[in-house]
């Protein structure tokens, strides 16, 4: 009885949101009158992708958007330090740990129900204070002439073994990599993660930036590297100059290395332009924003309900990603562990 009642109410709620969502989002974008100053977005997403979003949004709503670009953890910590005085209205990241950081400091305003309904539940935290806006899959990119398929690591944890010494690369100072570590922390626990990081300090070559890792792998300076999928996809779509000698290896099997990192968007509780800020996040998570991922040159996965990703990408369903609650990823702890391992 209870079961059926709750599922009935769920079904009702879902039905209601599905009916009202398009109306609400339409009403919202139409209702918000643009202010003279517009909104400030702290942007840790790739600048080129965010610029496409902003251009589309401003063209449709007339709302001005000012960007402050930085990295995930930098901007996340910055918002926490600024607290209620933050000039930011919206925060966009590449990865979710920084969203969790800001959320942990209680600085996000709840998102509109209609906005939440535009993204499936596994791509946003349960508390509804921020939302997934895109996603990226961890991959092991390798040089085809240096590694055979049979020599590839089965799990990302294998890279801690001595035979990988000096043979793989990553960009440990970047938030991208730290998100992968936070997933490992969530899946395997603190001791295992620290041990892996210490082995990484021994084994890995540190580069600055995923693109640089890809370039080095392509040039044969190193056998392989842990990065996200779309660096290679993007380069392949252009000239292939930095990736033609490489191939992508997906870890799959719910391995920590199969982790899919969610880019997040949220509205700051301290925002003085909440309606405009909500409209921006709703637009990105909605059809128009997600369509830019399908057609643009960012090659990140779309996460909207029913939204399709770029056709050159391996579908999400085939990636066997591990289940990680995005709201639980802990960037502070990761920084600490990396500090302990001597990587920072």
């Amino acid at each position: 009885m209870k079961f059926s009642f709750s599922s009935l109410s769920h079904a009702l709620a879902l039905g209601l949101t599905l009916i009202t969502a398009p109306l609400a989002s339409h009403a919202q974008t139409a209702a918000v009158t643009p202010s003279a100053e517009g909104i400030v977005v702290y942007n840790a997403q790739h600048v080129s992708l965010t610029k496409e979003w902003v251009a589309g949004f401003t063209a449709q709503t007339g709302i001005k958007v000012t960007l402050r670009n930085g990295s995930d953890t930098e901007l996340g910590n910055q918002i926490v330090q600024e607290g209620a005085a933050s000039p930011a209205d919206v925060f966009l990241t590449e990865n979710s740990p920084s969203m969790a950081l800001v959320d942990g400091a209680n600085l996000f305003a709840p998102l509109d129900a209609a906005t939440l309904a535009s993204v499936p539940a596994n791509f946003r935290p349960a508390n509804g204070r921020w939302i997934g806006i895109a996603a990226r899959s961890t991959v092991f990119v390798y040089n085809k002439s240096k590694l055979l398929k049979s020599q590839l690591p089965k799990s990302i944890l294998d890279l801690a073994q001595p035979q990988w010494k000096g043979r793989w690369a990553a960009s440990p100072a970047g938030a991208d990599f730290q998100a992968i570590v936070s997933a490992m922390l969530e899946l395997k626990g603190e001791a295992a993660t620290l041990a892996w990081l210490k082995a990484m300090k021994e084994n890995a070559v540190a580069y600055k930036g995923n693109g640089v890792v890809l370039k080095a792998v392509n040039a044969g300076q190193i056998d392989g590297g842990v990065i996200y999928h779309y660096y290679r996809a993007g380069d392949q779509a252009k000239t292939g100059e930095n990736s033609n000698n490489t191939e992508t290896h997906y870890f799959r099997n719910q391995d920590p290395g199969a982790f899919m990192s969610i880019s997040g968007g949220g509205v700051l509780a301290s925002s003085k332009h909440k309606a405009e800020a909500q409209a921006f996040v709703a637009w990105i998570a909605g059809k128009a924003g997600q369509d830019i991922l399908k057609t643009g040159d960012s090659y990140e996965y779309a996460v909207g309900v029913g939204a399709a990703s770029h056709r050159s990408l391996v579908p999400i369903a085939e990636l066997q990603i591990p289940a990680v609650e995005p709201g639980k990823l802990n960037s502070r702890k990761v920084s600490e562990l990396m500090l302990q391992a001597g990587l920072l």
């Binding site: 080129s48 930085g70 930098e74 005085a85 970047g174 938030a175 001597g342």
Partner: protein, 528 residues
């Protein structure tokens, strides 16, 4: 009137007290202004100490005495130990060739030896990354840093070589020393000031440089601090690293001041030194010319060819004029405002150090030098934390960025301005006052007008610094700021080298006239 006469009698080396009295109203007013500037300069310094204190010894020592810091120290030490001597050897050889030998085209070679300064260090490494993608680590860092920074030694060395009185060398030769002995025992000691000054400048640049070493994948304290900043905004770890970096700077300053010594290098007696005879290179000429030719090819050819290559590869598309134009405009606006602010802030200190030298002036001046020696990253980190905690209205505003620029580049402005003020006779200022001008008016209308050319040089030097400044701008700039340097940096981080090229080219073009000015100045100090 009598006070004026006393000051006149005392000129050119007035005693501090009396001359201050003679300028009492201006002196007091400027003195307080100088004090304000000095106190502002000390903010980052006190800040780092304060954070260390707040963090507590246990945490601070855990953050400082860890293997990673040891690694960074070792990296930094190697970098300095290799780059500085190589720069000395290269600059000395070039300076001797262009000043003391009959090398054909010496004037052109000497300009070409200064010109690499117009190419920002991180543009040099961008060029090298393109030519030899494998170049990295200590070797890559040393090589590119040498190419980018040797002119800092070439400038003072060539000026000093030109000024030397050949009589001493003649005397030594007449006592039977061979030419090599003459060079090492007579010439080299006289180059000591230039060597020490130039080496210190290069050393400080090595400690502060960010973009170059990131691209060369070589970790120094500065790159590690930025990494920390990006991982935790302004956590204690970043601040402790900047404390260690600050110490490194002080060690360099102390080393330089010891090496400089107290010896006098001025020519004794009256008359003028005769012109130097240039050494005939003879048959070695063409072989020797390989050195300046090769240096020019590496230091100018590689960046220009690379820029050309990327510009052609990118085609007309990379010139997104709305973006490039707005970056140029923002860079110019920040550069001009920062340079003028810095020059104005330098007036009180420079005036005091010329007109009322003494312990107080020396103290005020050295606090500006001390902070100017700190890397931008340390100053920026301090400004971020100070403004976010105690001066929130200033947080992320242009004011904070300009203040940071002022602290970083104050020494450049002081040095230029001081020369200018010293060349403006105090008598004129006093005459203006006896004719009824107020002290402030007299200072402004007479002395500052006479010092205007050197003030302009100072402004240009500071502007040059701001145009290519990266770290502080990245960390402090207001929302929406995009200078040439930060735009260049964001494109190279996405390895979009073609889109980055227009920004690099624009930076070089903006820097060229200022580099030319530096070159002219160095000729002037040598009396030609």
């Amino acid at each position: 009137m009598s006070a004026n006469r006393l000051a006149l009698l005392n000129w050119p080396r007035p005693r501090a007290g009396r001359s201050l009295k003679s300028h009492a109203p201006v002196g007091n007013w400027l003195g307080s202004a100088a004090l304000v500037v000095a106190l502002l300069s000390l903010v980052p310094l006190c800040f780092v100490l304060w954070v260390a204190y707040q963090t507590g010894w246990a945490t601070a020592s855990a953050l400082i005495f860890r293997p990673r810091v040891g690694e960074l120290l070792l990296n930094t030490a190697w970098l300095l130990a290799l780059t500085v001597p190589i720069c000395i050897a290269l600059a000395l050889a070039l300076a001797w060739l262009t000043e003391r030998s009959d090398l054909p085209g010496a004037r052109i070679w000497s300009w070409l030896a200064v010109a690499p300064l117009a190419v920002p260090a991180f543009v040099h490494s961008y060029a090298w990354m393109t030519v030899t993608p494998g170049l990295h680590g200590l070797f890559g860092g040393v090589m590119v840093a040498t190419i980018a920074y040797f002119p800092f030694l070439y400038l003072p060395l060539s000026a000093a070589l030109r000024r030397l009185d050949p009589a001493m060398e003649d005397a030594a030769a007449s006592m039977g020393l061979n030419p090599w002995a003459v060079f090492f025992r007579v010439v080299m000691p006289q180059l000591r000031l230039a060597l020490c000054g130039g080496s210190l400048l290069i050393g400080l640049h090595l400690l502060a440089e960010y973009g170059l070493f990131v691209m060369m994948r070589f970790d120094t304290f500065t790159t590690a601090i930025v990494d920390q900043f990006q991982s935790s905004y302004n956590g204690p770890a970043a601040n402790m690293l900047s404390g260690v970096l600050m110490l490194c700077c002080f060690v360099l300053l102390a080393l330089e001041s010891r090496a400089r010594g107290k010896a006098r290098y001025a020519r004794v007696g009256t008359g003028a030194a005769r012109l130097q005879q240039r050494v005939a290179l003879g048959r070695a000429t063409w072989f020797v010319m390989l050195l300046p030719a090769l240096t020019t090819a590496l230091a100018l050819g590689v960046p220009l060819l690379t820029l050309g290559r990327w510009l052609i590869a990118g085609g007309a598309e990379v010139w997104r004029w709305d973006e490039v134009g707005s970056a140029v405009w923002q860079t110019l606006a920040l550069g001009a405002a920062g340079a003028v602010l810095t020059a104005v802030a330098a007036i009180p200190v420079s005036w005091l150090s010329v007109r009322a030298p003494g312990r107080r002036a020396r103290w005020l001046e050295s606090s500006a030098y001390l902070v100017g020696a700190l890397p931008g990253v340390v100053i920026a980190l301090a400004m971020v934390t100070v403004t976010v905690r105690v001066a929130l209205p200033l947080y992320q505003t242009v004011v904070t960025v300009l203040l940071a620029y002022m602290l970083m580049f104050l020494p450049r402005a002081i040095i230029s301005l001081r020369t200018g003020i010293a060349q403006a006779p105090v008598e004129l200022e006093q005459a203006a006052r006896s004719l009824g001008r107020s002290p402030a008016q007299a200072l402004w209308h007479v002395t500052m007008r006479l010092a205007a050319p050197s003030a302009a040089a100072g402004i240009a030097l500071v502007g040059l610094g701001i145009t290519t400044e990266l770290t502080a701008t990245l960390m402090l700039a207001p929302n929406g700021t995009r200078t040439l340097a930060t735009a260049f940096w964001s494109y190279t981080s996405e390895i979009d080298y073609a889109s980055a090229a227009p920004y690099a080219l624009t930076m070089v073009l903006l820097s060229l006239p200022m580099t030319w000015l530096l070159y002219i100045q160095s000729k002037k100090t040598a009396g030609r």
